[in-house]
């Protein structure tokens, strides 16, 4: 069933090659304009790209987790989250259990990172963890695990580096060229004459070069977004397949759609890693072409249109119906290789779900809050009057008065 990775990879690779071609183009222009020699420019472009790739490959996940302020958790910190990750790890056939991280942020989001299946992590915001029931959590984690399983994380971070290199090179090169043209037109023309032999031709080449410098990053970004959107659909389809329960992810996405709190620590470069666009804002209509994620409502509609099956072929069919298109998102041989897959019923819920729905939210919130307090080294004192005092590390060691009954405690 894992053959789909290969089939979908071909399309992604074509797009990556396009981005690579843009980088080569930029390098070539830089070489021609500044050194009169294309090779020199190419070498500069490759060195910048290679250096950034190495950092992204070996340090990318720790940088991303560090920037997001993610904290690693143990099974005992939040058993349900840890168990759900392990369940999805088993369902996807991953060999190694990914590390589980939590981000103290009321925004609703989650992401996966790590260069390969053996160095993978899953991170979720505390806000999302509070909002989701077990089935929904499973859907979200299934989505993230399939990013790991499908190697999307590596693909997207390498594309991100490619994009970054193109943006940086064209930004600085075009500024230097503009400056050069304004301040020292003579010098520029002289060097151009050496290589081209004609003033008029040099100016045209110069203008074309500037135009390409401006357009290349835009094109690169559009390609990047296109790759990202494709991977999101595939991850949704895989999540449905792993959980055998598309409704879980659909209802989780619905909750995500209702919230418009942006993720504090997200940047344009890290956006494709998240389950939903971290900058989403209800008042701004999201343009199809300039978005890292497909519209969330559309993803929900596709998942709900899967009709009685959890296989890739069901997702593909739903995708075609909703998007009103003939070209599916998953290749035919992939869909055929997996065959028919039935759905399961909603699982009997764990401890949280056995209580009434109102209690659910309270229990979950309390659970997550307690965990965040513990992780920030707060101490809990149970007062005789029933109040639970949470003592921050800075106040530990002193005497603390219960705000409710006035008893004093030794912290």
């Amino acid at each position: 069933m894992w053959e789909q990775i290969r089939a979908n990879r071909v399309r992604s690779i074509i797009l990556v090659i396009l981005m690579g071609a843009l980088l080569v183009l930029i390098g070539w222009i830089i070489g021609m304009v500044f050194a009169g020699n294309a090779i020199a420019g190419l070498v500069i472009a490759l060195i910048v790209w290679g250096f950034m790739s190495l950092i992204a490959y070996f340090q990318g996940d720790s940088i991303l987790l560090g920037v997001a302020g993610a904290k690693k958790i143990q099974p005992s910190d939040h058993p349900r989250l840890y168990n759900v990750v392990e369940e999805m790890k088993i369902a996807s056939g991953l060999e190694k259990m990914p590390d589980v991280y939590i981000i103290d942020d009321p925004a609703l989001n989650a992401f996966a990172t790590g260069r390969d299946v053996n160095h993978a992590s899953v991170a979720i915001t505390s806000g999302l963890l509070q909002k989701l029931n077990r089935d929904e959590l499973q859907g979200v984690i299934g989505h993230e695990i399939s990013h790991i399983k499908n190697r999307d994380v590596l693909l997207m971070s390498m594309c991100g580096v490619l994009l970054g290199t193109i943006v940086i090179l064209s930004f600085y090169a075009s500024r230097v060229m503009m400056f050069g043209a304004i301040a020292g037109g003579g010098g520029n023309r002289r060097s151009s004459r050496n290589s081209n032999g004609g003033g008029g031709g040099a100016i045209i080449i110069f203008i074309i070069a500037i135009l390409l410098m401006i357009l290349a990053p835009i094109f690169a970004q559009l390609i990047y977004f296109a790759i990202s959107r494709k991977r999101e659909y595939l991850a949704d389809a895989s999540s449905a397949l792993y959980t055998r329960y598309p409704e879980g992810l659909a209802s989780a996405l619905e909750k995500l759609a209702q919230s418009s709190i942006p993720v504090k620590s997200a940047t344009q470069a890290t956006a494709p890693m998240y389950i939903a666009n971290p900058f989403r804002n209800k008042n701004v209509s999201v343009n199809d072409w300039t978005s890292t994620h497909p519209p969330i409502q559309e993803r929900i509609r596709i998942l709900r249109a899967m009709g009685g099956g959890a296989a890739y072929s069901n997702y593909d069919q739903a995708y075609r119906t909703i998007k009103n298109t003939n070209s599916g998102i998953i290749s035919d041989n992939t869909a055929a290789a997996v065959g028919a897959v039935g759905l399961r019923a909603a699982v009997a819920e764990g401890p949280v779900e056995t209580a009434a729905p109102v209690d659910d939210k309270m229990t979950r919130t309390r659970e997550v809050n307690d965990m965040m307090y513990r992780m920030n080294d707060y101490k809990t004192i149970q007062c005789e009057c029933g109040a639970k005092l949470k003592v921050p590390p800075s106040m530990q060691g002193g005497v603390i008065k219960c705000p409710r009954c006035g008893r004093t405690h030794q912290a």
Partner: protein, 189 residues
């Protein structure tokens, strides 16, 4: 002279094809074996959880003895079956255990203080998750078997599979609804 090179080239291509396909088959078979082992791990985990669960629940006054005893009995039977090596018998015994446990969980609904017990809640989470893991590992196993079977039956890898005796079909596991599960009381509000 060129004929020799052509023949040599063809031979090299055949060897590369044979080696690649053979390794692919070995890999697929190992993945199936590993997936099978995964199911075992989860079933064992369930055996380990049950004594704790029974111990916690037993403390509650008037807790239905029959339900508890059924769980304990089903566990012992499943553990015995796990050493016998008979897959059909084992699958039946595990099905009985699943049924007995789900009945226990329904009965628990009648005991509000039990549901407020932290210890019990933690156990219940573990048990829910282990049940999920069992079904997910069975699901993953079946997916891998399908993959392996496709490889041994489809052209051209079926030729290599036939040459090296790979075409032994692996059994699919089915989640059979046991008698106990069918008898599980329906909850009505």
């Amino acid at each position: 002279m060129w004929l020799i090179w052509v023949i040599l080239g063809i031979v090299v291509i055949i060897i590369i094809f044979l080696a690649g396909t053979y390794n692919g088959l070995v890999n697929a078979r190992n993945v199936v074996k590993n997936a099978w082992a995964q199911i075992d791990v989860q079933l064992k985990r369930r055996y380990d959880l049950i004594p704790n669960l029974v111990e916690t629940v037993k403390g509650y006054k008037n807790f239905e003895r029959d339900t508890l005893e059924a769980v304990t009995k089903a566990r012992t039977a499943a553990q015995t079956a796990s050493t016998s090596g008979d897959i059909a018998a084992r699958s039946a015994a595990e099905g009985e255990l699943t049924g007995a446990l789900s009945r226990l969980m329904v009965v628990v609904e009648k005991y509000p203080d039990l549901k407020a017990n932290q210890n019990f809640l933690a156990l219940q989470e573990e048990l829910t998750s282990t049940e999920n893991k069992i079904s997910f590992s069975r699901q993953a196993y079946n997916d891998q078997v399908l993959q392996y079977n496709n490889k041994t039956q489809q052209f051209p890898s079926n030729i290599v599979a036939g040459m090296f005796g790979f075409n032994k079909e692996q059994a699919f596991l089915q989640a059979t609804e046991s008698d106990a599960e069918k008898k599980a009381p329906k909850v009505s509000f």
